[in-house]
């Protein structure tokens, strides 16, 4: 048996022994997701047991090095783990922006001290992070952001406002873009880490058209951010005034995630929707069929994109194309789900719709082509960087 096959059978046995039956059910709502953090509570004993078993094994972040709380798996082993977990429908033991966003940025740009401290905290689910990028007036055009950190020697004093900060009200720390040089539009931004419990930091939830929302407005009123949290643990990631490099790297990860290159929103819908609808309109059926053609083609693109990324064949701006096409497709998907659902899909809080799932999801997708860079910005990037069309 090859090493990989040994690993597969051992992993299967470990999961059999450690993943409780309750944790092999699909995630139904946000309560089924464990986000970690200082004030986190578990929904059930099974959720706690599953999280702790994974944490101790390094499986909250399997591909990270062992010294930072991961399991140090090779890409091939990590793939096997994903496959085996998927085969028993295991829930993710821990979800967090620390894992998806800050972690990759720290692995790439962080100091050894930062990695030791923050990556371990993330892997163990001790600190819950939020992302402070967008501002009122600075959405996709991030370089225009205004939140300002004034240099006071051993610390900054940060003033300003962020918006669309997902789960800011539940987060312990923030990774935040702060202008530290007003004279340099691109370079004068620093990627800072600080505690949301610091005096002067406050949050306010934003109610969305879907009736609920993870988003907040975040305010900084003379927030004192120390420049260092100890030896080799600076408060900024990368260099001061060069936070844009970190932010761009991280946005690449975010776009891949939103675009569903991971298979999240690539499915067809015609088969499932038409089964529930005896009197399907032939034109609606035709639209569903055209959608399925596009969805299957996009799924092939997702597969091709990942294959090419692995061997460095993908154009660096290809994630922008995936994000653009994936989010536009997902909006169309939910328009069609609403059409096929008819009046039932309109029910806002009935049992039939599990609390208005179709309509809330439909409304939620409208943000797909806005968050993480709008479709228009994606098209700008494609036309400039891939097609090399002229102009500023």
């Amino acid at each position: 048996m090859s090493d990989l096959e040994t690993f597969r059978s051992e992993t299967r046995a470990w999961l059999e022994a450690n993943c409780p039956a309750e944790m092999r059910e699909p995630v139904r709502d946000d309560g089924d997701v464990y986000w970690g953090g200082r004030n986190a509570t578990f929904k059930s004993d099974a959720q706690k047991a599953w999280f702790e078993a994974c944490r101790d094994k390094g499986y909250t972040v399997p591909a990270w090095p062992k010294e930072y709380g991961g399991a140090g798996l090779s890409p091939a082993e990590a793939k096997v783990l994903r496959e085996v977990m998927a085969s028993i429908n295991a829930r993710p033991p821990l979800s967090s922006f620390g894992i998806w966003m800050l972690g990759p940025a720290l692995l790439h740009f962080g100091t050894e001290g930062q990695k030791q401290r923050f990556l371990n905290e993330i892997a163990r689910g001790e600190i819950r992070w939020c992302q402070g990028y967008s501002e009122p007036g600075s959405g996709s055009d991030l370089v225009s952001l205004q939140t300002y950190g004034e240099d006071k020697g051993d610390h900054w004093v940060v003033n300003g406002q962020k918006v669309w900060t997902s789960y800011a009200d539940k987060a312990d720390w923030i990774f935040c873009l702060v202008r530290t040089d007003k004279n340099d539009k691109y370079r004068g931004i620093t990627f800072m880490l600080f505690d949301m419990a610091t005096a002067g930091a406050s949050t306010k939830p934003i109610l969305l058209i879907s009736g609920n929302s993870p988003f907040c407005e975040t305010f900084f009123d003379d927030v004192k951010v120390p420049k260092s949290y100890g030896e080799d643990v600076p408060a900024q990631v990368g260099e001061i005034n060069r936070g844009w490099d970190v932010a761009k790297y991280l946005l690449g990860h975010e776009r891949e995630m939103i675009s569903g290159a991971d298979g999240g929103n690539t499915g067809t819908i015609g088969g499932a929707l038409s089964r529930n609808s005896v009197d399907m309109d032939p034109l609606l059926r035709a639209e569903l069929a055209m959608f399925d053609v596009d969805a299957l083609a996009y799924a092939a693109m997702g597969e091709k994109f990942l294959d090419e990324i692995k061997v460095g064949k993908a154009h660096p701006a290809q994630p922008n194309m995936m994000k653009y096409a994936g989010t536009e497709l997902n909006k169309r998907r939910h328009e069609l789900i609403m059409s096929a659902g008819g009046s039932t899909a309109l029910e806002w809080d009935s049992e039939e719709t599990e609390g208005g799932k179709p309509s809330r999801n439909w409304l939620r997708t409208k943000a797909n082509s806005i968050e993480g860079g709008t479709s228009e910005v994606m098209l700008n990037v494609i036309s400039k960087r891939i097609l090399e069309l002229p102009g500023g």
């Binding site: 067809t268 059926r285 693109m301 091709k304 294959d307 194309m321 494609i382 036309s383 069309l389």
Partner: protein
Amino acid sequence: MPLYHNDDQAMLAESAGQFMGEEGAIARQLRHWRDRDCKDGFGHDLWKQFGEMGFTGILVDEDNGGLGMGHVEAGIVLEEVGRNLTPSPFLTSSVLAATALKHGSDDMRGRYLPGLVAGDSVFAVAVDEGAKHNPSRIATRAEKSGNGFKLSGKKDFVIQGASADMLVVAARTSGSDGDENGITLFAVPKDATNMSHDAVRLVDSSMATHTTFDAVELDGDAVIGEVDNGRAILDAMLDAGRVGSAAEGVGVARGAMDLTVDYLKQRKQFGTLIGEFQALQHRAAHLYSEVEIARAAVIKAQQLLDGDSDKASLMASVAKAKVAKTAGLAVREGVQMHGGIGMTDEYDIGLYMKRDRALQEFLGDAYFHANRVAELSGY
């Protein structure tokens, strides 16, 4: 298998690209033959060169002198054919007919394949009956007669039918017109008596025929595969052709897009390059995205076909439908963004529009294939 070309395939793409860009270029082939009102719609010398390059026998096994490669490789040649609008019998002869002949007897394969591999023979396929592709309804009949059959009926949209040395004909040997079963494929030689071609030139300057069979007498050894059980071979042939025509369509889309993007970088209006206008940038970027996605669908379909996957038919239709939509978008945007010049015969962009139109219709359009995707998905 990863969804990109391996080293050997990348080499093939390079040589096919170079060959088609030089020998198969628009001025040298498409315009040349069109302006001479060529009765075949393509040049036999070029077809001979296809043979010398080894392209003709890509899908023919080595025992019959071919290369024994797959649909990914055939698609590589077709994408370059599409990009350069190179008129040739490659799709009908080397993809469709060659796929059908895989099921022919040794004797039949020995009779036809060496000529194909050498670039001497040209084959056509006669499936459609009527203006829209509908292979589930076949009315052309072949009735038992002595040791052989008598073939009667009429086929339409037979590409290069009058130039072909042999036609693969789908006919009914039992049952009624709409039946799934009862289909038999025949290899009908060009000199068959009582077969007549009404040749027509199409919008893209290619030649097609309405072909009539009036009690054409065929020997028993003209049967490809088994009598009455030809549906599976017909489907395999059509799926190969669909994936192949999708690959050619991607080439057409890329050719049109490249021409257009180049033009956006050169043409000035109102004192600026028109490629600086965001309205045009966004449309070009959208087009690029669609072309990339269509290419992914095509290579996925090629790999599934090569791997004999039971998902191959579904993906063949996905690829054909997606490419039809995408190439259509590419040529429409191309002509529009070229402005008035895009309407002139002198500029090539209009030739792409014409070729795309014919290719969309060949072996089923986007509507046909979206419908097939729905049926294969159970709705």
